[in-house]
């Protein structure tokens, strides 16, 4: 009898304890999955997220996809309402589609409750990564990774007296960081086919990739400075005379001229990885690439350190750079939304943002970027700050992929495949884009 009563008394306690233990184990073993592209900053984020795990006990899982497949893979995941990702660092152009199709959780209420203010982030990044519709206070992401398309150059080659003298004699100015895209062309032409240290080198590694977004991003760094506009300032979706303006035609012709004269042989399908390879292997004097790669390049044992220099996209009629970068969002199909929101809350704090930049991620927080000592923190920091003040982004409409494909085709046809003229390519692009917007009922 006594034995039975002991069992009766201890059983509920055991059940309760084991239930609690299981609940705790479940919380600890239920990892938060973060999806992003596989590149240098992703490694920095893995390092940074260890602090989150240490603070909250939430283990992190990462799903990183190489850039050429990133959009395909992740948009398929979102469109099929997959539960793979709890948190996603999606490309800036996805924001419209992801907001309208219900893939992302709207964050306004969460931001208000937790004292997260968009005023604490650089305005261009808030518009580019968080807002849909653009320029309205509807937030679907927290600006996570600021980025823009910039340039690197071989500082050690630029410093060689014999090359400096030859350049000055030929072009009548110093061999220095180009101030305009015309000057950039001259420098690339100067180095093209030249022998340096017994090795044949080439002018510039630029984006020419056909499959995803490569050539569109690359050509944008020429179109914008020459005066290309996506639409009339006062009339949305009015593209005629803006996309295919005389200035835009000049920009496109300049990009083709650079491709024809000054890229390494076989450079017809190259994006960020190929440009990194070309620069790291000492093949090119100039490289177009995203600022995100600059910390890694600066550390490179062969071409980094005092051999590399960085500069923001040169101007022409205006100063402008293609926006890169991403915001961090909570996937609406996630079963771990509370933990995902806790991660965003943690990520938004000033200390984490500071560490994010220190590890090689590009913070968008004013607390980091407006710090008086920021420009001295890295040799590319000042250029990054300048670039983020002049960025322009591609369409972020729900049909962005269709718009992107049309530009990929028209630009590649003209620049790489030598088909038609720049004017014809941009006229065809206006027609393609107009068809997409008509189909969407926007015009």
């Amino acid at each position: 009898m006594k034995r039975r009563s002991v069992v009766a008394m201890t059983a509920p306690a055991v059940v309760l304890m084991s239930g609690l233990a299981m609940q705790q184990a479940h919380a600890q073993s239920n990892p938060l999955t973060l999806c992003w592209a596989a590149w240098d900053p992703a490694n920095a984020l893995v390092e940074l997220s260890k602090d989150f795990t240490a603070q909250t006990g939430t283990p992190m899982k990462f799903e990183f996809v190489p850039w050429p497949n990133f959009a395909d893979r992740m948009l398929n995941e979102l469109n099929s309402h997959g539960t793979l990702c709890d948190v996603i660092i999606g490309d800036s152009q996805w924001i419209g589609g992801s907001a309208e199709n219900g893939h992302y959780v709207k964050l306004n209420e969460f931001f208000d409750k937790n004292g997260i203010s968009m005023d604490d982030f650089m305005p261009a990044t808030v518009v580019g990564y968080s807002e849909w519709p653009k320029n309205t206070p509807n937030y679907w992401a927290l600006p996570a990774m600021g980025d823009a398309l910039g340039w690197t150059y071989r500082k050690d080659w630029f410093a060689r007296p014999e090359l400096k003298a030859e350049f000055k004699q030929k072009y009548g100015r110093e061999l220095d960081v180009p101030k305009t895209l015309d000057e950039l062309h001259d420098i690339a032409q100067f180095f093209q086919g030249r022998e340096i240290d017994g090795k044949k080198v080439y002018g510039a590694a630029i984006f020419t990739e056909r499959g995803s977004e490569g050539i569109t991003m690359g050509v944008a760094n020429f179109l914008y400075p020459y005066g290309f506009q996506y639409q009339a300032a006062d009339k949305p979706y009015d593209m005629e005379g803006h996309v295919n303006s005389a200035d835009a035609v000049k920009g496109l012709e300049a990009y083709k001229a650079l491709y024809d004269c000054c890229t390494p042989p076989g450079y017809s399908n190259s994006y960020m990885e190929q440009n990194l390879d070309a620069f790291k292997s000492g093949q090119v004097a100039l490289q177009m690439n995203w600022f995100a790669f600059f910390p890694g390049l600066y550390k490179d044992p062969n071409v980094g350190g005092d051999k590399i220099g960085f500069f923001v996209n040169p101007g022409e009629k205006v100063h402008a750079s293609q926006l890169g970068g991403q915001g961090i969002s909570v996937v609406s199909y996630s079963k771990n939304q509370d933990q995902a929101l806790a991660y965003i809350k943690w990520f938004a704090t000033a200390e984490v943002q500071k560490k994010w930049w220190a590890l090689g991620g590009y913070s968008c927080a004013k607390s980091v970027l407006n710090d008086p000592g920021f420009t001295a923190t890295a040799p590319f920091a000042a250029d990054f700050l300048k670039a983020m003040g002049e960025v322009v982004d591609f369409w972020a409409e729900p049909s962005y992929a269709q718009l992107m494909q049309a530009e990929q085709k028209r630009i590649h046809d003209y620049v790489v495949a030598n088909q038609g003229t720049a004017q014809e390519a941009l006229d065809a692009l206006v027609k393609d884009w107009a068809d997409v917007f008509k189909e969407d009922g926007k015009i």
């Binding site: 469109n79 499959g211 017809s268 399908n269 992929a401 590649h412 495949a417």
Partner: protein, 320 residues
């Protein structure tokens, strides 16, 4: 004599082993019903994974449905997509690229495959080893082939340019196979020929081996020349096999995607954009599900129609 030696004894043993409940149920079924019982699962499976998707695709091709916008209203657009696809110059350009690729790969693979089969059909020293070596490319994954040929075609470090200029002289980086508008269609043809000629060879070899020796012996008795034997015996008797190889390669190359995507991604420009790449971009990048369904139906009807005409011709050849 063993008691299991006759079929009736075996049937009796099987009947005895059948549980009584099952035996009672089956006993009441006709042969036709039992036949239906066996084939119904297969029919259901076919309906679920073949027929239903086909019918659904045809339905979607008349709508403006987009798989990435589940909340958007789905409207009936009638034959609009079909009209737009069939009048779109970009689609016709893709069809021309496909036709160029299909025709040239078939012609070259058939000629080379048949020639190789003729060689392999002769018994010679190391015959087995050479057969294995020739068959190797066919055993590789198209993804692997696409990737390593990308390196082989690299103008500065690629073996292909080096070998070509070794014989012709000049700088290996003076031409680019994948980035040149004229050369890139041939670059993908070369890779497909390299990979799939062994397959054609195998089918042709089966054809050659099926020709009875006594026919050649009779021809030799009649003092027919080797040339005459080739044209009057070998080619006609191997023709159904050659035609079969052409059919298989034709269908396969009409829907070629992976290798072209890896080698050129459809570029430069749209020079190598075969129809399947255009379709994939419309379906899974632009998410124009209705449009791409219509395109898929058009491609399916084209391949199905051509294959049917071809199979009829093949049957006529076999009946000769």
């Amino acid at each position: 004599m063993n008691d299991l030696s006759t079929p009736s004894q075996l049937a009796l043993r099987a009947a005895a082993a059948t549980p009584i409940g099952v035996a009672r149920r089956v006993r009441g079924l006709s042969d036709r019903a039992i036949a239906w019982l066996f084939i119904t699962p297969t029919i259901l499976l076919l309906l679920a994974i073949n027929i239903f998707p086909l019918v659904w695709t045809v339905y979607l091709s008349f709508t403006n449905y987009r798989a990435n916008r589940p909340n958007a209203p789905v409207n009936w657009v009638g034959l609009d997509w079909y009209r737009r696809i069939l009048t779109d110059p970009d689609v016709w350009a893709a069809m021309q690229v496909t036709a160029h690729f299909v025709i040239w790969t078939i012609v070259i693979e058939t000629l080379l495959g048949f020639a190789l089969a003729m060689l392999i059909d002769k018994k010679f020293r190391g015959h087995g080893m050479w057969t294995t070596i020739i068959l190797l490319p066919m055993m590789l994954s198209p993804a692997v082939v696409g990737n390593f040929w990308t390196f082989l075609y690299q103008p500065q470090i690629g073996l292909f340019n080096y070998v070509v200029t070794f014989f012709t002289g000049g700088d290996p980086s003076s031409f680019q196979m994948l980035g040149d508008v004229t050369l890139s269609p041939w670059a993908i043809i070369i890779v497909d020929v390299w990979m799939w000629t062994p397959y054609v060879m195998l089918i042709c070899l089966a054809g050659l081996r099926s020709i009875p020796d006594y026919i050649y012996e009779a021809a030799e008795v009649d003092r027919a020349s080797a040339w005459r034997r080739f044209w009057s015996i070998t080619v006609p008797m191997a023709l159904p096999f050659i035609m079969l190889a052409v059919l298989f390669r034709g269908i396969e190359n009409f829907k070629m995607f992976d290798m072209v995507n890896l080698l050129t991604g459809g570029g430069p420009g749209s020079t190598t954009e075969v129809a399947s790449i255009t379709l994939k971009r419309a379906a899974f990048e632009s998410w124009r599900t209705g449009y791409s369904s219509a395109f898929a139906v058009i491609l399916f009807v084209s391949v199905f129609g051509l294959a049917n005409i071809y199979v009829k011709a093949l049957n006529r050849v076999k009946q000769r």
